[in-house]
Symmetry: C2
Subunit: 98 residues, 2 copies
């Protein structure tokens, strides 16, 4: 469910971020540090969001922990930077300009 950094695959990370919904999730997490799933849906159905969070988790981008009934999400920024140095930073910088 949460892969270890040695199992991160570049294609999976890039694919996860090639979707506008998931890219906006990552952007918001970068701004706010962490957020629940509910705080990150843009009025979208829960089942759709759950699908996107799964892809983000399985690619290694996001770590989800249970916190009562809600699930808290945070970027795995350090793990990612260990395997793909500078990648997340470059993507977050790019989204700022757009």
């Amino acid at each position: 469910m949460h892969p270890s950094p040695s199992d991160f695959r570049l294609e999976a990370v890039l694919h996860a971020l090639s979707d506008p919904v998931r890219l906006s999730i990552i952007r918001q997490l970068a701004r706010e540090g962490e957020a629940t799933c509910a705080a990150l849906d843009g009025g979208r159905p829960k089942s759709s969001m759950s699908h996107h969070f799964r892809i983000l988790r399985e690619s290694g981008l996001v770590k989800t922990r249970n916190e009562g009934t809600s699930h808290m999400n945070e970027l795995r920024a350090q793990d990612l930077d260990k395997v793909f140095p500078g990648l997340l930073t470059a993507i977050l910088n790019a989204t700022l300009t757009v």
Copy 2:
């Protein structure tokens, strides 16, 4: 066919590179500077390669110029770095470790 840097879209670039065939093309172009389409197919059919080159072109990653009967491809590294600073470098570095 060849978008200007102001029309580059991050999602399109990430999607283009989320495919292993296209990622290997980009890697080879980064090593060799430029190469024809034929030099970049791995025995794959021409129609498949043409499809991948189109996605690479339309995302802004690759520039293709005619050179006789063959088409020469090169990375648009400078254009990309202008719009998405550090992104291509990070991706190419990542592929080296994998």
